[in-house]
Symmetry: C2
Subunit: 438 residues, 2 copies
């Protein structure tokens, strides 16, 4: 479409999440049909469901008829049971059955992503017969972007490109033209895996087959792009130390926001309380050398930061399928190396902080400033290494016990390292400094 | 392909990143041609480049001929100038020119993603003429999945589906069948934006047009899926408080890992040093009430955690285009509400920690335990709110100054909140507790 029209349209889409439902339906009704169709095609499922809900029955019926079967199914999944049945009742018998079939799948199943209507030809057909057969399917506006070869038993034999069809002679047989190597998935494969298959094989479409190898639907790349965005957003929010939101940030109510976040905050707070017990055990040190406290945030945060780096690296690599459980030792060795090197560098910097402090704010640490400098150097180095090892190992442990590695979020790792890091610091202080306190 | 064959193939792909280059070329040469083609199609650019580099010249020439033009260009971009020219020399004149044209684009440009060869028909053609014309293009194995209508001046008029072509009469005119509303992008659009367009409009392909509106190439969803994965990984790694890696974690050398991570760690450490200065200003408090130190990790980490949640939420929403600069105040209000509520809840829990500590470890806080309880409650509540506000506002500030909001990573926000949170805590303590210390 012309640039300005496209820009205006994109603007509407961007504003959409911020509009009240009354405003939305108003705006939608005002559009010319083709633009309205464009708009509803571009909405996410939540927004489609909400828009349809604000329509009157006849509007809703006609728009339900317009939408793809897989989209209708996704929308109905958003609704309470009774309402879903009611809307289902608005569909003609044939569509009704197909959609009900899709509804049987869990929301994250490949089956939920697939479109049950796709272009097909028989292996025994001649090119001419196949093209005539495709004519008919084209009139039922089934997309011909991808054409599959199915035998009389609906078994998937292969794929045939329209290019090959056009290039061939009228009485060549389809079976000779069919590309047999087709990547497929089953109806119950998790949608995240489907996304990985698409990116791994560079697919634009993938047939869904049942256990008998019968093709029952087609997943196209546009559906998968949404899935990948969704999954990435969920992961990112988990890394951030909260539950993933069901809707976009601005569309999520404040109470919902709190529900998704406060649980983790409380868990982390309770975990962090271990630090208070750890430190209570060092009353003597803290009591006699008050300035030990000054370096506590510096030291524990160094561990939290290196841990956050290690865990996000490993978690993402796991999500991308680059790192498997069996790679743990390899990862551990890498983090051992990197952590030691980075720990030494940061340790030296921490030590310099003490020495400079000594010379410029002269004498605040008394005659123990050298002991303190060593304590800080050793503690920072140790805690940074600790962060790398814990941050890289925790995702493996979660994976091992079938939890989502993404839950080993930066805050979770940081909390763990805070506790252990304090023990390192105060123990080193106990050994190096306290004996020299008169 | 048959399940076991597909599984075995996927296994090879999964193992690939872990194989040495010698092993890779060995394994690749051992494969039958069709499987070798599958394998190289599924590799990422780095791996393709490395594999080609280990080949002898004649192997390299034939495989370069096999690859898509846009892939060849991406591969050459990975190489040092001289080598790239050398490889370019292996191509026939026509391919050579097309690839050189692609090389002119920056790696993140839409132009770099596009394939310059695509199926085209003229608006003035009859359906019959168009189909014959497509025959010829099909023989040059140009994909017919998407067919575009270009006038004699290469201006993009629209798109025509092969379905429509087959359904139409032989002497209908293409211009009547063309779907005019086609979403396009320019050659210099950033690839991240391209990804957003694909997911927003649910596209499977998008034409690239130059400033004169001439179609110069086609971007297909499979290329975009890779881009989206890539961009998500980069963002995640930045959230984790480091520079994004150029390669997969396991393929990145340890020295490279350190280079990408230690810089941020040093910056954060130096930032964290502000906490030592902040606390040095409270020598009197820390010296006289040693157990104030006990709660420091508890308090600053609460702020770090709520800040990490807020910043990841806002950063991801910005990346998805859901939140724009102008939404700052709306976001701020939401975080003010959520932060206050969550702060109060956590404050009460923190307070209970002190009271329980008092009753079970009896008397360690002397007669000031109530004052301490209030201090902790107020500080935790304040710091949690502070975290929400800082974490949600920092990405906007970075955006405002044209920095990548993703750099407002969890560790960055945590460091900021550590410093300010300490000032809150120790100030409250100074006001509530110290006056009552005899």
């Amino acid at each position: 479409m012309e640039t300005e029209k496209q820009e205006q349209f994109e603007q509407t889409l961007r504003d959409w999440p911020r509009l009240e439902s009354e405003r939305r339906i108003e705006l939608f009704r005002a559009l010319p049909l083709d633009e309205a169709e464009n708009l509803i095609d571009c909405m996410n499922i939540n927004d489609q469901a909400e828009l349809l809900a604000t329509m009157n029955v006849s509007e809703r019926r006609s728009w339900l008829r317009y939408l793809d079967l897989d989209d209708i199914a996704d929308i109905l999944l958003e609704l309470p049971k009774e309402e879903a049945d009611e809307w289902l009742g608005l569909l003609d018998a044939r569509t009704h059955d197909k959609v009900s079939a899709l509804l049987a799948y869990a929301e994250d199943d490949a089956g939920g992503l697939m479109n049950p209507s796709f272009a097909r030809v028989r292996p025994t057909m001649t090119v001419e017969a196949a093209i005539n057969y495709l004519h008919i399917q084209a009139q039922e506006n089934i997309s011909l972007e991808h054409v599959y070869v199915l035998d009389s038993d609906q078994q998937l034999i292969g794929e045939v490109s329209l290019g090959a069809l056009l290039a061939a002679n009228n009485n060549d047989l389809i079976t000779e033209l069919a590309e047999k190597d087709v990547v497929t998935c089953t109806e119950y494969m998790d949608q995240e895996e489907v996304g990985t298959l698409f990116s791994r094989f560079g697919l634009t479409a993938m047939p869904v087959v049942d256990v008998q190898g019968r093709m029952i639907g087609l997943i196209t790349a546009d559906d998968v792009i949404d899935v990948i965005q969704e999954e990435a957003t969920e992961d990112v929010q988990k890394y951030g130390g909260m539950e993933a939101l069901d809707e976009s940030y601005l569309r999520t109510s404040i109470s919902e926001l709190i529900k998704k976040r406060v649980g983790w905050l409380i868990m982390l707070l309770i975990g962090e309380m271990l630090t208070t017990f750890a430190m209570a055990g060092f009353e003597n040190e803290l009591n006699r050398v008050w300035y030990l406290a000054i370096f506590i945030p510096l030291i524990i945060s160094s561990g939290g930061n290196s841990g956050s780096q290690a865990s996000t690296l490993v978690i993402r690599a796991m999500a991308m399928g680059e790192v498997k459980l069996r790679d743990w030792f390899q990862v551990f060795k890498r983090e051992l190396g990197a952590g030691t090197a980075m720990g030494l560098i940061l340790g030296v910097i921490g030590m310099m902080r003490v020495l400079l402090g000594e010379f410029f704010l002269n004498g605040v640490y008394g005659n123990l400033y050298l002991h303190l400098a060593y304590t800080i150097a050793i503690s920072v180095a140790g805690v940074v290494l600790l962060g790398c090892l814990a941050g890289s190992t925790l995702p493996f442990i979660l994976r091992l016990f079938r939890f989502d590695p993404a839950s080993a979020s930066a805050p979770f790792v940081a909390t763990f390292v805070d506790v252990t890091g304090l023990l390192v610091y105060l123990t080193v202080a106990r050994l190096l400094i306290i004996p020299n306190v008169l």
